[in-house]
């Protein structure tokens, strides 16, 4: 038998030395890791805040000022949106969180509330009066405030001013619909304008400009429509567990929502926030209902960069309504530095206006919104304030099962509803049974 020789694949002495050196260096480095300060997390002059990727920029100027004024370093740990939920959830369950403060989505507060420290002493009358009503009610779970809003958002109306201010369009619209072309404020106006702008602009026989989009892969826009229809108890009553999703207002909202399909690009079932934003920035949509922060995110090379107008969210039979999309700073009840953490939360509220000049430019306090009144680049603020102050801008139900309801019931419901010929009443009835099974 001829044995295989080891020579062709045999590593040389130099290769072995190099491999050993790299391994040794890696072993030394692995003792800690090279990110951050390398100081122990238990240092009293250091606080760790976990925050969703997009929100880090919002908190950075506040953290910088805190360091300057108090000497305490605030380290912002950036995590992906879904990862943040998993991370906070597992650490709160384990009972020894590695963070001192967490920036949490409003919809997570009911689920995490039992493991969060009460912040009732921070909620003075002055604080409450400077926050939108929906934000205050969302922060309160079981009679205790468990989060302080750090920024809020809502869907508002985006439209293309180059189309709306075009003389020919204005004349044609008035002739066809009998009133002046302007940013729509009601469902009926929105449908008219959407219909008017859905057209073949280059004459090739294919529609290339749509009046609006219809998002089938997300649920929040429909929930805003539900509030616009006059529903006071969106989807379910969190206190009693009664499921209301098959009410007349929910039905009316869903019927209006899908009635826009003829004026929207195909593929609604798969259209989510990112897809909608892309279509608008490409110039394929005349209008979109979207979160207010997008006003500052238009790519420089977008053909609509200088032609974007904003207005409050449209209204239905019950008036204007959006769904508040707030984020809160919360302190884990099992945290080692609760007092220091609460001091930072109070500081962040006090200096909330600093977040206005960041990439997202979102704030939470009414006074912070007002501080930018009339300033170029903040044209979205009045639209956001009007929408958030609307009586029907109600928060989502404060139930720990909300995320599960969204993922397993509401999003599939929307995807089915935007399919041609969908029986919306039947879909809502099925959704009711599914939600009842979840909350019971």
């Amino acid at each position: 038998m001829k044995l295989r020789t080891a020579r062709p694949g045999r590593p040389g002495r130099r290769t072995l030395i190099a491999a050993a050196s790299v391994s040794a260096a890696a072993l030394v480095l692995s003792g800690c890791g090279v990110g951050g300060s390398g100081e122990a997390a238990s240092d009293t002059d250091e606080l760790t805040v976990v925050v969703e990727g997009g929100g880090k920029a919002e908190l950075q100027p506040i953290a910088d000022l805190y360091k300057e004024e108090t000497g305490t370093t605030v380290t912002l740990v950036e995590l992906p949106y879904a990862g943040l939920y998993d991370r906070v959830s597992s650490e709160l369950q384990a009972g020894q969180p590695s963070f001192d403060v967490a920036a949490l989505d409003a919809i997570w507060l009911p689920a995490f509330a039992p493991a969060l420290a009460p912040l009732d002493d921070l909620y003075t009358d002055d604080v409450e009066s400077d926050l939108f009503g929906g934000l205050v009610s969302e922060a309160k779970v079981d009679d205790s405030f468990v989060g302080m809003p750090v920024w809020t958002n809502s869907e508002i109306l985006f439209y293309r001013t180059d189309l709306f201010e075009d003389a020919q369009n204005m004349a044609d619209f008035e002739a066809e619909y009998g009133y002046a072309l302007a940013a729509p404020t009601t469902w009926e106006e929105y449908r008219d304008v959407a219909e008017f702008f859905t057209r073949d602009t280059d004459g090739d026989g294919t529609v290339d400009l749509y009046g609006t989009d219809v998002k089938g892969a997300v649920e929040t826009e429909w929930l805003a429509t539900v509030s616009q229809a006059g529903e006071e108890t969106m989807v379910l009553d969190a206190a009693t567990g009664e499921v209301t999703i098959d009410s007349a207002a929910h039905q009316e909202a869903l019927d209006f929502y899908v009635s826009l399909l003829p004026f929207a690009p195909a593929g609604a079932a798969q259209l989510d926030w990112a897809g909608s934003q892309n279509l608008f920035y490409q110039g394929n949509l005349a209008m979109m209902r979207f979160w207010g922060h997008a006003y500052r995110q238009t790519p420089d090379d977008s053909p609509v960069k200088d032609s974007i107008g904003v207005a409050p969210m449209i209204g239905g039979p019950a008036g204007v309504a959006g769904v508040p999309g707030a984020w809160y700073l919360s302190v884990p009840a099992s945290g080692a530095k609760q007092d220091a953490a609460k001091e930072f939360v109070a500081f962040a509220y006090e200096h909330n206006a600093l977040a206005a000049d960041t990439s997202l430019g979102l704030v939470a306090r009414k006074s912070a919104f007002e501080s930018k009144a009339g300033e170029p680049g903040f044209e979205n603020y009045p639209a956001l304030v009007t929408t958030l102050e609307a009586p029907q801008s109600l928060p989502r139900p404060a139930t720990p099962e909300w995320q599960e309801i969204v993922d397993s019931v509401l999003v599939p419901l929307m995807q089915k509803a935007v399919e041609p010929g969908a029986d919306t009443a039947q879909l809502l009835s099925e959704a009711k049974s599914q939600i009842e099974a979840i909350v019971e």
């Binding site: 062709p8 694949g9 090279v34 950036e78 597992s90 384990a94 934003q277 790519p299």
Partner: protein, 278 residues
């Protein structure tokens, strides 16, 4: 048609099929690479375009200047190297003992090692957080490397066992007759023979750690965060930065491509090890 012509046509057909397969297999990466050179609007165009309309390096500048990226790249290298070394140090003797002595307990052990691969990673996430905290290894590259080793070790044992199987027992027996201890026979005689297999195992262990996301997300925060978590941060609730994300992903792919090219000879030798006996 003579046999030479038939063979030539078959070969051409084979090459064409191979080229098509490579294009299909490699297209996602190629698209990622091309997107990293696109402008923001070009990157989100509807319908999407394959080639950039205007080529730009802005995404690379933005990705590399983003806070935490250089540190995350170093952490990824450190974690992957330590995890690979740990996997090999533990897997080689385990696999050698199993194949050399062929005991019933060895057979049970190798099946048990495979069973650990069947446990969903998320199921051990929470216990690992607790364990690492108790050991004081939370947010350290070493702690993360240990966690990654739990993923790569079973596969490494199986791979090395299959490579050792291909080496005749007579080889190590001859070495022992010549005065080597069992360990010396393994290190000095058998391991050089399976160096190709060792390279293959190292690559798999390295890749398992290099691309791992969930443990990195759960076990690190400030000091030891690795690049997959940073790449995921480009998608936030407020939007998706395609340009930055694809640029960092392209940069992150480079070391693995270079490592594979560097070890190519060993990998080929390893993959063909045992293919022909006698």
């Amino acid at each position: 048609m003579n046999p030479l012509e038939t063979r030539g046509k078959s070969r051409i057909l084979l090459w064409v099929l191979l080229a098509v397969a490579i294009v299909i297999y490699g297209f996602p990466f190629l698209y990622l690479l091309l997107t990293s050179f696109k402008t923001p609007l070009d990157a989100i165009s509807v319908p999407p375009s394959v080639l950039p309309e205007t080529w730009t390096l802005d995404n690379y500048v933005a990705a590399l200047s983003r806070g935490g990226v250089p540190a995350a790249l170093i952490n990824s290298v450190t974690t992957a190297v330590v995890s690979t070394v740990l996997s090999l140090v533990l897997a080689v003797p385990a696999a050698y003992a199993i194949t050399r002595f062929r005991t019933p307990s060895g057979r049970v052990f190798i099946v048990a090692a495979l069973v650990t691969r069947m446990v969903p990673t998320i199921a051990v996430g929470a216990p690992l957080i607790e364990l690492m905290r108790t050991l004081g290894l939370t947010d350290t590259s070493f702690g993360l490397a240990l966690a990654h080793t739990t993923i790569s070790l079973p596969l490494s044992i199986w791979l090395m066992a299959s490579f050792f199987e291909a080496v005749p027992d007579e080889l190590s027996e001859a070495a022992e007759v010549d005065g080597c201890s069992r360990i010396q026979a393994m290190v000095r005689v058998v391991l050089p023979v399976v160096s190709g297999g060792l390279a293959v195992t190292a690559i798999f262990a390295f890749l398992a750690s290099w691309n791992e996301f969930l443990f990195a997300l759960l076990l690190t925060s400030v000091r030891a965060q690795t690049t997959p978590v940073v790449i995921a941060n480009f998608q936030s609730q407020f939007g998706l930065d395609w340009g930055g994300m694809t640029a960092l992903a392209a940069i992150y792919s480079l070391p693995v491509i270079l490592l594979t090219l560097f070890l190519q000879r060993h990998i080929v030798a390893g993959l063909t090890l045992g293919a022909v006996k006698g």
